[in-house]
């Protein structure tokens, strides 16, 4: 993406928007905030691609996104609510809420997000990038500016911690 045309940029943003927003949501547990952070990171990519060109857009946007969480003040208490089911209309909301499967899914979402937020931001970022986005250790290390060994150590520690926090969820 050295000399970037508007069309190529638009295609890239359209293709990566959803993945980036998912990563942001896993980091913060808030779809609105995830949307905001995703737009900001992608907008910086577009602006910089027009000006100087960006060699590796994936590394650029994910680095920018994860840096936002590094500087975000940590909160000791988190209240996570599962998002609305996009397939359900307002009239069908009550019926959906009564559905046992949906309730179970919402509960699982809250538990996983809460467990993730018990981890240190960098450890959480490693897990999100490795298991939510599918980056390799090398790519994750580039995004976070860490050595490969540190990425592997964070990953192992994060998985172990989540195993303690989510035994029932993982067992399902």
């Amino acid at each position: 993406m050295g000399t970037t045309s508007d069309e190529a940029l638009h295609d890239y943003v359209a293709a990566r928007y959803r993945d980036l927003r998912r990563s942001a949501f896993l980091m913060c547990g808030d779809w609105a905030l995830a949307d905001e952070l995703t737009r900001t990171s992608l907008a910086r990519l577009v602006a910089d691609a027009h000006r100087d060109g960006v060699h590796d857009p994936d590394a650029y946007v994910y680095s920018d996104l994860m840096a936002a969480f590094q500087h975000r003040p940590a909160r000791r208490e988190h209240v996570f609510l599962a998002g609305p089911d996009p397939t359900s209309g307002t009239a069908r909301g009550a019926a959906t809420a009564r559905d046992a499967g949906a309730a179970d899914r919402q509960m699982r979402t809250v538990l996983v997000l809460d467990a993730l937020h018990h981890l240190a931001p960098r450890c959480r970022a490693v897990l999100v990038l490795r298991h939510g986005t599918g980056f390799t250790v090398d790519e994750t290390a580039d995004v976070l500016g860490l050595a490969d060994e540190r990425v592997e150590a964070y990953e192992a520690a994060g998985l172990a911690a989540l195993g303690q926090l989510l035994p029932k969820v993982a067992a399902r």
Binding site: Y17, R44, A47, P86, V112, H131, A160, L166
Partner: protein, 252 residues
């Protein structure tokens, strides 16, 4: 219990199933990018303007600090210039004239044995004539001239250490003259004070000499005037700069 890599990937994928639609997220990204681009452009412009203003301000401060201001130079110039030498003859003339008149040197204002001064009306600044003073070495038996008889000697009046004779000629309204020839007894030198009214006025009053005959006599007898001339100053020689007297001094 340990969560495996596959377990976590599946868990994370499942909790994102309920994600809201993207709506106009992509377009919002480009709008925001344009805003960032504009903000950066204005930042660059503002930084450039600030740099120019800063350079100009620093240059101005340095220029004013290093280069003295013209006002300071003009103020310093009189202080640095040597003080004008006091002219005792000028002081003597000023003491002799009326208070309504102002006396200034007339360039060339001085030479060996002579001085000349312009007299101005203090209020209007109009010229009021000329006072010329010349000094001569004279023999012990000096003969004061008599206008009516070239071979005769006038009897002088005395005032202090000086003896003098007054000569006035106001027949020509355009060249009215009061002249005094005095001899300073202590050193035997002769001084001629010639007060000439403003020439060419065509008016008797306007062309009146700046000194009356009495004032001219007092000036000639003033010891301060004698002290104003050095002992070796004299107008005896053929010096064209010496005043041309109405009544020549016969100093030979």
């Amino acid at each position: 219990m340990t969560i495996t890599r596959d377990d976590l990937g599946e868990l994370l994928d499942r909790i994102c199933h309920d994600e809201p639609p993207v709506h106009d997220g992509v377009e919002a990204v480009f709008r925001r990018a344009e805003a960032i681009r504009r903000r950066r452009m204005w930042t660059v412009v503002a930084a450039g303007v600030s740099a120019v203003v800063l350079v100009a301000a620093v240059g101005y401060v340095l220029a004013t600090a290093v280069v003295p201001a013209p006002a300071q130079r003009s103020a310093a110039a009189p202080a640095a210039a040597p003080a004008p030498r006091a002219d005792p003859a000028l002081l003597a003339v000023r003491a002799a004239v009326d208070d309504r008149l102002r006396v200034v040197p007339r360039e060339p204002s001085r030479g060996a044995g002579w001085r000349q001064y312009t007299v101005l009306d203090r209020a209007s600044g109009r010229p009021h004539g000329l006072v010329e003073i010349s000094v001569y070495a004279a023999p012990a038996r000096f003969c004061f001239p008599v206008l009516a008889d070239a071979g005769a000697c006038a009897r002088p009046e005395r005032s202090g250490d000086a003896e003098y004779v007054r000569y006035s000629d106001d027949r020509d309204v355009d060249w009215q003259v009061h002249q005094v020839i005095a001899r300073w007894r202590p050193d035997g030198r002769v001084v001629a004070v010639l007060a000439t009214g403003e020439r060419g006025t065509g008016d008797r009053t306007a062309g009146r000499p700046p000194l009356t005959a009495s004032q001219a006599a007092a000036l000639a007898a003033n010891p301060g005037l004698r002290a104003a001339f050095g002992a070796d100053e004299r107008c005896n020689g053929p010096d064209p700069a010496c005043p041309l007297l109405k009544v020549p001094v016969r100093a030979d």
